[in-house]
């Protein structure tokens, strides 16, 4: 084959929230071309939503993603509220922000753990997931569920954060903060970690603009976008936090951004718990007027956008959903070309949606169709490279 050998990656893994199928063409150990195919988990949620009532659709969109399950209800409820200007009580706004930030913490820690695993730092993996656990416990304490919290409804939230939950929540985020500052010192400054991630899988600023990427991927390439700051919604306009932006666009920047954002989330939650006013948590709206609305939310992986066209009945006439990974995954072609196979697992992990497919990586010689490497071997390859650097 003119393009060299083909490496198919994917498409399915039971852990993966968005199965994708990557085809990498390699020349020796260098990737020379890449193709992506998605749609293996396409469930037609947009169409399904058209036959659900607005209240049912809130639960439906929560099921789009298992890890950042609040992102879609967050954007969806705001889109519906945008149609007829439904007011949300202040207390509900603060609770929404707390849930959104708790989710960012657990999602980023999950990524940090997996990134550590891929480069052979299994201690990081164990640590990150250990500190992620109390966050999930807090979700259980607040909502009754460790995942799929069902906290959102149009016009407010479904459950209050009572005073007895507050102490536990503060303790959990204190531990997260301690861990993140420890990790920043222990790992981010580690020369081997830097050697494995710096200048690897670079997404240049101009490419990032052209590909319209969002979230930490865009911010790592120097694009200053963060929906929480650009269009303050929920309680984000009432709390103080920083937009983290770095310039280099490599795997290292993406890791640092996620660690720093976790610290910012801790800051936001503390302020929310302190400033949260007493009062109602739900404005209990009755009717959705005819019209259209757009809801935006900064999910852990970037901006989520929902568009709803209402004809005045109790279900949407058209419901468009765009998840951040749609934009971020497409930028792959820019980041992997020219890199080595050993780094492919890491680069595919750096955009966050794709870490799980790496366990399904198979390298096939295009001529003989023999399997050269399995997914496990690729992770091992990636880890061995770190070992060599250590020596």
């Amino acid at each position: 084959m003119a393009k060299g050998n083909l490496i198919p990656i994917g498409p399915f893994h039971p852990l993966l929230e968005e199965p994708e199928f990557f085809k990498f063409y390699v020349d020796g150990e260098t990737i020379v071309d890449a193709e992506v195919r998605i749609g293996y988990n396409h469930r037609g949620v947009e169409k399904l939503s058209e036959i659900k009532t607005y209240d049912q659709a809130t639960f439906l969109v929560e099921r789009i993603c298992g890890i950042c399950s609040t992102s879609h209800p967050f954007a969806f409820t705001q889109a519906v509220e945008d149609i007829s200007g439904i007011e949300v009580p202040d207390r509900a706004k603060y609770i929404r922000s707390i849930i959104g930030e708790l989710e960012r913490i657990h999602s980023h820690l999950l990524w940090v753990g997996l990134a550590g695993h891929f480069i052979g730092y299994n201690t990081v993996f164990m640590w990150a997931w250990k500190y992620r656990e109390p966050v999930l416990d807090m979700f259980e304490a607040i909502s009754g569920n460790r995942n799929h919290y069902s906290m959102f409804k149009i016009g407010g939230v479904r459950r209050d954060i009572t005073d007895d939950k507050r102490a536990g929540l503060l303790k959990a985020i204190d531990e997260v903060e301690k861990f993140c500052s420890m990790l920043s010192k222990a790992v981010a400054d580690d020369p081997v970690f830097q050697a494995r991630t710096k200048n690897v899988g670079i997404l240049k600023k101009q490419d990032a603009v052209d590909m319209c990427v969002v979230g930490p991927v865009a911010r790592a390439s120097g694009i200053e976008i963060d929906t929480r700051k650009d269009q303050p919604y929920a309680a984000y306009g009432m709390v103080d936090f920083d937009k983290i932006v770095l310039k280099d666009g490599d795997v290292y920047s993406k890791a640092v951004i996620r660690l720093k954002e976790t610290m910012e989330s801790v800051k936001i939650i503390r302020q929310c718990l302190k400033n949260m006013p007493e009062g109602a948590i739900d404005s209990d709206p009755r009717d959705i007027a005819a019209g259209e609305g757009i809801g935006l939310h900064e999910a852990p992986r970037g901006e989520v956008i929902h568009y709803i066209l209402s004809n005045g009945s109790n279900n949407p006439q058209r419901h468009k959903i765009r998840a951040p990974s749609t934009m971020n995954v497409a930028s792959f072609k820019k980041t992997v070309i020219g890199e080595s196979i050993a780094d492919a697992a890491l680069i595919t992990a750096a955009n966050d949606p794709c870490y799980c497919c790496t366990e399904r990586m198979v390298i096939i010689d295009a001529g003989t169709k023999d399997v050269l490497y399995t997914g496990e071997e690729l992770v091992r390859l990636c880890q061995e490279k770190t070992e060599k650097l250590r020596k």
Binding site: I38, K47, D82, L296, M327, A330
Partner: protein, 149 residues
């Protein structure tokens, strides 16, 4: 809103405005002006294309280009109607690479043909999906019956 002022000055009567709120602005344009206006917003005004929505109606498919202008502070939606049954519109992918998947999705789900698109292959639907069956269309429009499907 700087972007809106710049557009009013540059394109004048070609755009019909509907300002729902300071952060939600809708602008209706004719199909032949769409590409020029979207590229102007993207390249000159430095906006980001957030997504592309398609809405099925009896006479055509309405396309909505959601763009974040003024450093993300305003969600400006450029809308245009693509007429049935031809459903042909010029692609913007060669100028905005991020639109590649968005246009492929609309093509698969609604059957809009984007001329000049570099890679109009299946993205989401399985390879053996029936040609000409567009899952996000309202089937009731085809059979001229009222009510959602």
């Amino acid at each position: 809103m700087k972007a809106m002022d710049a557009l009013k000055e540059k394109f004048g009567g070609k755009i019909e405005w509907n300002i729902r709120s300071p952060r939600r602005v809708y602008a209706t344009v004719a199909q032949q002006d769409l590409k020029e206006i979207v590229l102007y917003i993207f390249k000159i005004l430095g906006a980001r294309l957030s997504t592309l929505t398609s809405v099925d109606t009896r006479s055509g498919i309405e396309l909505l280009y959601h763009m974040l202008t003024d450093k993300g502070a305003v969600c400006l939606t450029i809308r245009t109607m693509v007429k049935k049954p031809e459903l042909i519109i010029e692609s913007i992918t060669n100028d905005i690479q991020g639109a590649e998947w968005l246009e492929r999705e609309v093509h698969e789900m609604m059957g809009v043909n984007f001329t000049g698109h570099p890679n109009m292959r299946r993205l989401l639907l399985p390879d053996d999906w029936k040609e000409g069956d567009y899952p996000y269309r309202k089937k009731s429009f085809d059979s001229e019956k009222e009510g959602p499907q």
